[in-house]
């Protein structure tokens, strides 16, 4: 059965840790990222547009409120003037202007003193002549402030019979302003009544106005020159921007109030400017609240989405895991467990198809195994037939050989003296032929035995094998007076003892055979250790092998020489190669023509053995 192939399901891919992540986490993470992106984008866009609307609405409201206030204050200014209108028709004042005599002065002073609103608001009332010289003055206030009053702040009435409100002037804590009434006669300017008044808004009145405006607004009144500003109670710092020049709404930082939207508007008939400021923080407060709520909603959405995605991911990943486990089981040869996924979606049909496939695979696997069993049996049968064939050859083919050889020899021995030399040679040739054929059959049988025999590899001491083989070859070695040198100690190798003996016998026999008759054979057996293998060398001082033939000599029936020069079947080295290959090794030869050959056999080393 094949080794189960396990894909690294849990192991993260080194290139990207995300791609190695389970669907159970990958899906929720992706959906989480999606929801988060959408939420953030949507929240940001909503926040931007709500903020924009809030600011636009605030600007519009600021404009209309400033306009309304301007109109309202314009009306108030008229009322401020109304109280001075009486001076227009006051004869005492008119008379004093025309003829400023001492006699007329008390009456004019009395008239001036009676003009205007409640006394507490009046600082002083003055009468100026046509040359713009102050001719009379009634001071209600004894403080030195009166001396500081600046006539440049007076708004000299632009037209006949019309009064005007002048610029504000800060004197200490107080704010004062002049109210002017122009006196004319027949189109000629007689002079002016100028009354200096103190600003008189009550905190309650101011608060009411501010509440009416709302939005934490700031309300300021200033000069048209922009030098003096009041929040209607006291002097206020100037705005950092020249609001009189600005068209529409401006934006700036008011110290203590932060960023504000502001709009200024001149009050007609006065030298005043009204300024309304909306703090941006107040305008944007509902926007911020909206943003918080939206954020909360999105967070809930993200959490819920994450949870749902996790559940969905699990519902996808679990059947897939089951399928993976089942696949691994199949790879391990277990066809018994079908996948149980009770669903009617794609995963369900995948599981169904998988189970169907499982059935098919199981069936064909069984069929295959059956077939393999059948074939194996067939092969074994064939093998037995073959072995029987070999057996027959060894038995039957050699019987007639024995007869040929035996009776030829019997003929030579028993009736040799009655045969002429030619007949004797014939008989001798029969004997030799039979012997050669016997060798051939024996070698063929050896080759076939080495090819198919089951070789159980065990640790074999090469030294012992060499000793045995040399003893068996002793006679032929002695016949050639060969010198054999074995480099002790030879190592222990992994091999089949009888087969190893045959290999060494064939190699030594081969080495001995190919030393020319006039040379004393010098053979050497040695071993070297390398690459976890052991190479055994069998070296001779024989005729050598030309390089172009070195590959051929290990093939069956390959012979380089005629039987007359060097007799042999041409199978010996083929047996060596086959035997060594069957023992998991290799063979080879290094040789120079005329200088001997060095055959090598590479065998497996025994673990833990040192050479």
């Amino acid at each position: 059965m094949a080794e189960p192939v396990r894909e690294a399901a849990g192991a993260p891919n080194p290139r990207s840790s995300f791609s190695g992540l389970s669907i159970e986490y990958k899906l929720p993470l992706s959906i989480f990222a999606l929801i988060l992106t959408v939420s953030v984008a949507y929240t940001w866009a909503s926040y931007r547009s709500v903020k924009f609307s809030a600011l636009t609405a605030a600007r519009a409201r600021l404009g209309s409120i400033t306009d309304q206030l301007g109109t309202m204050l314009q009306g108030s200014a008229k009322q401020l003037l109304d109280s001075l209108h009486a001076s227009k028709s006051n004869d005492a004042v008119r008379r004093y202007l025309t003829t400023p005599t001492a006699a007329a002065k008390p009456a004019a002073l009395a008239a001036l003193a009676g003009l205007g609103p409640p006394l507490s608001q009046i600082l002083s009332t003055e009468l100026w002549n046509a040359q713009r010289e102050r001719v009379l003055g009634v001071s209600r206030d004894s403080s030195p402030r009166v001396a500081l009053l600046n006539s440049e702040n007076v708004h000299w009435a632009p037209g006949p019979d019309s009064g005007a409100v002048g610029r504000l002037q800060a004197i200490g804590d107080s704010l004062v302003y002049p109210v002017t009434e122009q006196l004319t006669e027949n189109g000629r300017v007689l002079g002016w009544v100028v009354q200096w008044r103190r600003t008189s808004t009550s905190p309650q009145g101011r608060d009411q106005a501010l509440q009416l405006i709302g939005s934490n607004a700031g309300l300021y009144v200033g000069n048209d020159q922009g030098d003096v500003w009041t929040d209607l109670l006291r002097v206020a710092p100037k705005p950092p921007v020249d609001v009189r020049q600005a068209q529409g709404v401006v934006e700036y930082d008011r110290p203590g109030a932060g960023k504000v939207l502001a709009r200024a508007r001149p009050i007609v008939g006065t030298a005043w400017v009204v300024l309304v400021e909306f703090p941006v923080a107040t305008i944007l407060a509902p926007v911020r609240l909206f943003l918080r709520r939206l954020g909360l909603l999105m967070a809930v959405l993200v959490v819920v989405g994450l949870g749902l995605a996790w559940i969905v991911g699990r519902r996808i990943a679990n059947p897939l895991r089951q399928l993976t486990a089942a696949t691994a089981a199949i790879a391990a040869g277990d066809y018994s467990t079908p996948v149980s996924v009770n669903r009617r979606d794609e995963l369900g049909s995948l599981a169904d198809s998988f189970n169907t496939m499982l059935g098919h695979v199981r069936d064909s696997q069984h069929a295959l195994e059956e077939q393999v069993r059948h074939r194996t049996a067939e092969l074994e049968e064939r093998n037995e037939e073959l072995e029987g064939f070999g057996y027959s050859i060894s038995h039957d083919l050699r019987a007639p050989l024995r007869a040929m050889q035996g009776f030829s020899q019997a003929l030579l021995e028993d009736a040799g003296d009655r045969l002429d030399p030619l007949s004797r040679e014939y008989a001798e040739r029969i004997v030799a032929g039979a012997q050669r054929m016997d060798l051939l059959i024996q070698d063929l049988l050896s080759y076939s035995r080495v090819s198919r025999a089951e070789l159980r590899l065990v640790p074999v001491p090469l030294g012992l094998i060499a000793e045995t083989v040399l003893r068996e070859l002793a006679e032929s070695l002695r016949a050639r007076e060969a010198v054999v040198r074995v480099d002790d100690p030879l190592p222990v190798v992994l091999g089949h003892p009888a087969t190893l003996s045959q290999v060494l016998t064939n190699l030594l026999g081969n080495a001995l055979k190919f030393v020319p008759p006039d040379r004393t054979p010098a053979l050497r057996v040695r071993a070297e250790n390398g690459n976890g293998r052991i190479r055994v060398w069998v070296e001779d001082n024989g005729i050598g092998i030309a390089a172009e033939h070195q590959d051929r000599i290990f093939r069956v029936f390959e012979r380089l020489h005629s039987g007359d020069d060097y007799p042999g079947t041409g199978i010996g080295l083929a047996i060596v190669r086959k035997a060594v290959e069957r023992m998991g090794g290799q063979v080879g030869v290094e040789s120079t023509l005329g200088q001997g050959s060095r055959f090598w056999v590479e065998l497996q080393r025994v673990e833990g053995e040192s050479a």
């Binding site: 060894s394 038995h395 024995r402 050889q405 035996g406 009776f407 019997a410 049988l445």
Partner: protein, 150 residues
Amino acid sequence: MNAGGQVILIVEDDPNDVLLIQRAFDKARILNPLQTVGNGDDAVAYLAGEGSFADRQRHPFPVLVLLDLKLPRRSGLEVLEWIRGQVGLKRLPVVVLTSSKETTDVNQAYDLGANSYLVKPVGFDSLLELVKSLEVYWLILNQKPDVSAA
């Protein structure tokens, strides 16, 4: 040689081989009488003293059996198995003399109780050597057990 009655039974179907073995015995000057049977059934009948081999005067009980493995009818291994199964015969020295070198044959023969396993040489000289050593070992040196016909 104590040629008196120490019969050697040769179980061999090939008349050539029989002739060559007989000649080898002659050449080695072994005077033991040789009895020959050509198949497994005859070998069993001879040893059991049945049928045409009932007359122990003409077919004396052997002291050694040379047994070929490949025989018509009952095979050599079957004959060997039969011998080892007989109460009176199980100690009878049996030398397998065959042309098969197959390991399975060798192992099976020894498993069934062969005393020796020899491969027939092709050369007559070798056969002669073999027969000589057979005589030296089995007929002269070896202490013979008590064996009686059933």
